[in-house]
């Protein structure tokens, strides 16, 4: 479904040159869910943005359904790949009602039957038609993220790029959104690429994942391996340890913590 070969993303030139992503490769099969884990500055979000054209592909290949993507992306690409952003407070237009937000993609692609599809899209993400004419400021964070997911799904894409979709949400709301994403994937046969700093979230949603650090893939592993604590890389292990909460034992500072 998705094939990333030796992807490089470089911003700026000369002294300002930043190698955000250096030589990252991975494949995702149809219907699978793939995770990219790392801390800030690891380049995990940049990989996502490069796939959908928000960041330049400096070198390497990105292919969707066997076809290499073109720059700029064509309309067919946008019907296949959609994205959900991290901050639901920033990803909805503050002056547009939910109705307008959801009808925009339909209008761009000349789709008919907008009425019915908007109501259906709202139902799919577990919101009633009463939400249709609200402004973003009348919605909670979780509801906003549901609208953002509805917007991404309304064109019936096959691949969904999820950029930290739950990290701005409260724990209980995160659980609801994760359940929704799980359910939608099964129902619609979607392919996910999930970016997150939270190992537990990635392990919950994805089968396979790539641990990233400083723009490079550190280790490709599976959720099952993570759960059983099998990680060959020391950085991955330190992430696992950190995700289990604070402990007063084992005060030694691991090499990964050097700032």
């Amino acid at each position: 479904m998705l094939d990333i070969q030796n992807l490089q993303v470089v911003f700026g030139t000369g002294r300002l040159r930043v190698d955000a992503v250096k030589n990252v490769s991975f494949q995702v099969e149809r219907g699978a869910s793939y995770g990219l884990v790392g801390e800030s500055g690891s380049g995990k979000s940049t990989v996502l943005r490069a796939i959908c054209g928000l960041a330049p592909i400096s070198d390497g290949r990105v292919s969707v359904e066997g076809k290499e993507v073109t720059t700029p992306r064509d309309q067919a690409f946008y019907r296949t790949v959609q994205m959900v952003f991290q901050d639901p407070y920033a990803s909805l237009h503050p002056r547009h009602t939910v109705d307008r937000t959801l009808s925009e993609p339909l209008a761009i692609h000349g789709e008919k039957d907008a009425e019915a599809r908007i109501v259906q899209a709202l139902r799919e993400v577990g919101l009633g038609p009463s939400f249709r004419f609200r402004y973003p400021h009348q919605l909670s964070g979780g509801q906003r993220q549901r609208i953002a997911i509805a917007r991404a799904l309304i064109l019936r894409p096959k691949v969904l790029l999820l950029d930290e979709p739950t990290s701005a949400l409260d724990a209980s709301v995160q659980a609801e959104v994760l359940n929704l994403l799980d359910e939608l994937r099964q129902k619609m046969g979607l392919t996910y690429i999930l970016v997150s700093h939270d190992l537990a979230v990635v392990a919950h949603l994805c089968e396979r994942l790539l641990v990233m650090r400083h723009g490079e893939g550190v280790e490709e592993t599976t959720a099952a391996a993570l759960r059983s604590g099998k990680a060959s890389d020391s950085y991955t292990r330190s992430l696992i340890q950190a995700s289990s909460g604070f402990s007063r034992d084992g005060q030694k500072t691991s090499p990964a913590l050097a700032v």
Binding site: R73, Y78, H93, P105, R134
Partner: protein
């Protein structure tokens, strides 16, 4: 971090307007307008300003009914020249024996016409130049903004004078001159706003839906820039009225016998010491209307652009 529902729940029409679950596009829009209106009415000075502007509108609309005399044709030059304010001539008469009160009332039409035309011409130009420059960036931005800089580099009145000198005096040319000199600041504001908006996630999201650049600019960037522009244009109205009056005063705007306030002040200049009312009455009208627009602009800023207030 605020939580818990408000303790006081509104009822009736207000409840409908403030409904958290609007049932239609219209209810959502009206609810928003109503919230804005409530913020606006919190500021008594702004309401006062709105009152003045509405009064100007009404006076211009019903000038024919309100004015007791003709604004152009004078009376008997031997007996009715330069009379002080009285019951017959509330604001007195001028050197052509015309009733100043009637002239001030008809003058409101010209003022309104100027204000309307300038905002209709200058705002869209500024908005378009600013948003396109800000959103597209690169050499388009450079070219458009240098052009803006060139216009900004000239003092407004001087540039307007040059235009009028080239095009010939007259109210239409004065309006064009003012419009051409007033868009650059709007372009700058719109560009600054666009630069903030263009990197936000909601623009990225609509880009990923395959929206074209014009669609993004018109449908997504412009609606967010427009509110701060409306505020700025309203606040500039006073300046525009004064510039128009200034051009009229210099004899480059409205031509006699049009009852333009600036031109009226200019004629009054000759009689300033002995017949003060000839210059003072139109001057007062200019002052009141400018004040009205300024107060209105302040109030609008509170509503449309809360972060800029204070």
């Amino acid at each position: 971090m605020t939580g818990a529902a408000p303790l006081v729940q509104p009822t009736g029409l207000r409840a409908w307007l403030l409904s958290p679950e609007p049932a239609s596009r219209w209810q959502a829009r009206l609810g928003r307008l109503y919230l804005g209106w409530r913020t606006f009415t919190k500021n008594p000075l702004a309401v006062f300003g709105l009152g003045i502007v509405l009064l100007l509108l009404l006076v211009a609309l019903f000038a024919g009914f309100l004015a007791p005399y003709s604004p152009v044709a004078g009376g008997d030059l031997r007996t009715l020249r330069l009379l002080p304010p009285s019951a017959e001539h509330w604001f007195g008469t001028d050197d052509q024996a015309r009733d100043i009160y009637s002239r001030v009332i008809y003058g409101s039409r010209i003022t309104l016409w100027v204000v309307l035309l300038v905002s209709v011409i200058a705002t869209p130009i500024g908005l378009l130049v600013g948003t396109v420059a800000g959103y597209v960036g690169g050499w388009v931005d450079t070219v458009l903004m240098r052009l803006t800089d060139i216009f900004l580099a000239f003092p407004r009145l001087v540039l307007a004078l040059a235009f009028v000198a080239a095009l010939g005096p007259g109210i239409e040319n004065a309006i064009i001159a003012i419009a051409i000199t007033s868009w650059p600041p709007y372009a700058r504001i719109a560009r600054a706003e666009t630069l903030m908006i263009r990197n936000s996630d909601f623009i990225a999201a609509v880009k990923l839906q395959g929206a074209s650049t014009p669609r993004i600019i018109m449908g997504h960037v412009v609606p967010l820039c427009i509110s701060s522009l409306i505020v700025r244009v309203t606040l500039d109205m006073a300046g525009i009225i004064l510039t128009a009056a200034g051009l009229g005063f210099l004899g480059l705007g409205a031509q006699p016998p049009m009852p333009e306030w600036g031109a009226m002040v200019a004629t009054g200049r000759n009689y300033l010491i002995d017949q003060w009312w000839v210059a003072a009455m139109p001057g007062l009208a200019i002052f009141v209307v400018s004040l009205g627009f300024n107060l209105l602009g302040d109030g609008l800023r509170d509503v449309l652009d809360p972060k800029a207030a204070k």
